[in-house]
């Protein structure tokens, strides 16, 4: 067990170092693809930490991402605050928001929760527009910084690494154990004395925190923020599909979904640009019918069967 831990740790460190070197090797196009992938790695992995064990499908990523981007833009554009301060404020605000939403909705059973989170991004977008219209007045929010794509990539890599460390810690904690029990049978969990509501809320807050952080970091890349652009429901769906494609029962599962998905998505955008939505649908069907446990599940199955053959 110990040695396996060390091996995992070494692999992780090597991967992070290699990922950090990407901007030195690639520039321009491939870097911007790596950046997109890194963004989804952070989002999907963080999503899977909550939705994987609990089976609550959250479509709120777009909402938290939007809160991050929007607060950074408002703070920098209207109140002359620094990017770093606003990034911090945005992450805290989204965490509190996730906490409130979690308390209100995580007592609901699965389906109702999905529908609520789906509406959330739209609700916040309208709320933001309403506040702008009645109180602030919009002057187009500009996020003008000197960050290059490499800087933004490294920031995202830092967030992604933090997600992995957080996930690794949770898995080894009482919290992680409690989550697994909740996922298997919530009634049993309650009977053995687990505070199920609180456990779920804490993990849900972490997804809010990380998604807002990613949104905040992406804001300088967009340079000009409009509510319509950052509160995108598409983002929420992409995060879910990539995570499920990779597999949510291992920490590194979503990673295996994000990388091929981003590459295929890009290839389709170039060759048959009008088919990206179709591809999204096919990916969903594929997951449901053929890889319910994601690529990780497939990998473990083939490895498992090979193991059996060797034994016999």
């Amino acid at each position: 067990m110990k040695s396996a831990d060390i091996r995992a740790l070494v692999t992780a460190v090597v991967c992070i170092v290699l990922a950090a070197l990407v901007p030195f090797v690639f520039n321009g196009y491939w870097l911007s693809i790596a950046l997109t992938a890194m963004m989804y790695i952070a989002l999907s992995t963080s999503w899977a930490l909550f939705s994987g064990p609990t089976h609550y499908i959250s479509l709120a990523s777009g909402a938290f991402f939007g809160v991050g981007g929007y607060l950074v833009a408002t703070g920098m554009s209207d109140y002359n605050q620094s990017f770093w301060l606003m990034m911090f404020v945005a992450a805290i605000a989204a965490t509190v928001l996730a906490g409130l939403i979690g308390l209100a909705t995580l007592r609901l059973s699965g389906v109702y929760f999905v529908i609520f989170t789906l509406g959330l991004a739209e609700m916040i977008r309208n709320l933001v527009s309403w506040v702008q219209n009645n109180f602030l007045g919009s002057r187009g929010l500009y996020v003008l910084t000197d960050f290059t794509e490499a800087h933004i990539y490294w920031m995202l890599l830092t967030v992604a690494s933090a997600v992995f460390i957080f996930g690794w810690l949770v898995e080894r904690s009482r919290l992680g154990f409690a989550l697994k029990i909740i996922g298997n049978d919530e009634t049993v969990a309650r009977h053995v004395g687990i505070n199920t509501a609180w456990t779920k809320v804490v993990l849900f807050m972490s997804t809010g925190f990380f998604a807002a952080l990613v949104g905040a970091i992406i804001a300088p890349r967009y340079s000009y923020i409009e509510p319509n652009l950052v509160f995108s429901p598409e983002l929420s769906f992409l995060v879910v599909i990539m995570a499920l494609l990779g597999g949510t029962h291992r920490l590194w599962g979503p990673l295996l979904g994000v990388i091929p998905f981003t590459l295929i998505w890009e290839a389709i955008s170039i060759w048959i640009p009008n088919f990206t939505t179709l591809f999204l649908g096919i990916a969903f069907l594929t997951i449901v019918y053929f890889v319910p446990n994601g690529f990780v599940g497939l990998l473990e199955k083939t490895r498992g069967s090979r193991g059996v053959k060797a034994g016999s």
């Binding site: 870097l31 219209n133 340079s223 319509n228 170039i270």
Partner: protein
């Protein structure tokens, strides 16, 4: 044994691949008259796709076809044809940036047509600047142009500022009031979204300072299907002028309701998309005298020829505003490339800064990367949307009095 064979065959296959790649590379560099590669990234899907299909894409198509029909652009080493490479940005800034990166580093295009939409022009500006592509922005309206052009030395603006648009409307209304055509009361509504909010914010103090009384001031969310309460409310306030800072769907919706409610005002203004040919086709003579954002001077020979070519080559009608500006931006690019006589982007950018250009909208030149020649308000007059207020444009039409909705 097996392993050795496979390794060999892989190596053979690989060296064949290298040979093929090298020959293609060599054959590419050998031809002197390779086409000039032009990239274009704009929405073909998503919320902005409709507008881009009217204003952006047809003009790119028209320009490329025209230049190639002439045999290409005249450079120092002979004429070179244009090759167009286009990508859909899905109305998503992240996708847009990626596509521009692809054009710059994979397709290695010589020039890129500026994006469609304010947000996209600003989001893409850092990459254009990084690779030195001149970016002649059209569909981008901002009050921060000075800061942006100082930051991005290859960025040019051509369509005007938010404040200029509001001032255009104010001047028209003040002129009508001073000549006794309308009274003092304005009903103002706006779509509760970025550009609508921005215009309404700018308009409140400007209207008040001009001595107007805003008797009704309401907003409605983007995508509101039923706009009758908005128009009914405005009508109840008995205004002399109705001003709507609206987007395409609500420009149509509000006007439809105004006709149904028979909103009697001396001046009726809706913002974006009033200039679309589809607007005129839908309402016909009913909207005679309606004001809107933009405008053209359709009487010049150049503009008439442009409208004709646009219809012939793309099968679509040009709109009465930014279509012409979009085409002008491509004319500027074309003249700058020919002026330099080479595809040297830095020299072309400098050429745009230093010279004036002969376009279908007259002579255009840039003052600190900003062109101050644009239309602000237009009016439907006998089936044509004529510019009635502008910044430095010739051929401003006389205002026509509106007489009901017939």
């Amino acid at each position: 044994m097996f392993k050795i064979i496979s390794a060999n065959s892989i190596r053979k296959g690989f060296s064949a691949l290298v040979v093929v790649t090298l020959t293609t590379l060599l054959s590419f560099t050998a031809h002197a008259a390779d086409p000039i590669k032009i990239g274009a990234v704009a929405p073909k899907t998503g919320p902005l796709a409709g507008g881009a299909a009217v204003t952006q894409w047809p003009n790119i198509e028209l320009w490329v076809k025209e230049v190639n029909a002439r045999g290409g652009l005249k450079l120092k080493d002979g004429q070179r044809m244009l090759e167009l490479i286009e990508y859909d940005d899905k109305t998503n800034p992240g996708e847009h940036i990626k596509a521009v990166q692809r054009l710059a580093t994979q397709d290695k295009v010589d020039f890129i047509v500026a994006p469609y939409g304010t947000g996209f022009n600003i989001a893409a500006a850092p990459i254009y600047a990084k690779y030195g592509y001149p970016q002649i922005a059209v569909s981008a309206i901002s009050d921060k142009m000075d800061e942006l052009t100082a930051r991005y030395p290859s960025l040019f603006f051509t369509l005007g500022t938010t404040t200029a648009f509001v001032n255009g409307v104010k001047d028209i209304l003040a002129g009508m009031r001073d000549s006794g055509k309308i009274g003092n009361k304005i009903a103002m509504v706006n779509v509760a979204d970025a550009f609508g909010i921005e215009l309404a914010e700018a308009a409140r103090p400007i209207f008040k300072d001009a001595g107007f009384d805003i008797v009704y001031d309401k907003s409605y969310p983007l995508g509101t299907p039923d706009l009758s309460p908005v128009v009914k409310g405005a009508k109840a306030a008995a205004p002399d002028a109705f001003v709507a800072w609206s987007y395409p769907p609500d420009t149509f919706g509000l006007t439809e309701q105004a006709i149904i409610e028979d909103l009697q005002v001396g001046a009726y203004y809706t913002a974006v998309a009033t200039c679309f040919p589809a607007f005129g086709q839908k309402f016909g003579s009913k909207i005679d005298g309606v004001f809107g954002a933009g405008g053209v001077n359709p009487d010049t020979e150049e503009m008439q020829a442009y409208f004709k070519r646009h219809k012939e080559m793309t099968g679509k009608d040009a709109d009465y505003w930014a279509s012409a500006n979009t085409y002008v931006s491509l004319q500027i690019l074309e003249q700058a490339i020919e002026g330099v006589g080479d595809v040297d982007r830095e020299a072309v950018t400098q050429y745009i800064k230093d010279n004036s250009f002969d376009t279908i909208m007259g002579e255009i030149k840039f003052d600190n990367q900003i062109s101050h020649k644009f239309w602000t308000v237009g009016q439907w007059q006998d089936g044509v949307f004529r510019g009635v207020a502008s910044s430095n444009m010739d051929g401003v039409a006389e205002i026509k009095e509106k007489s009901g909705w017939n």
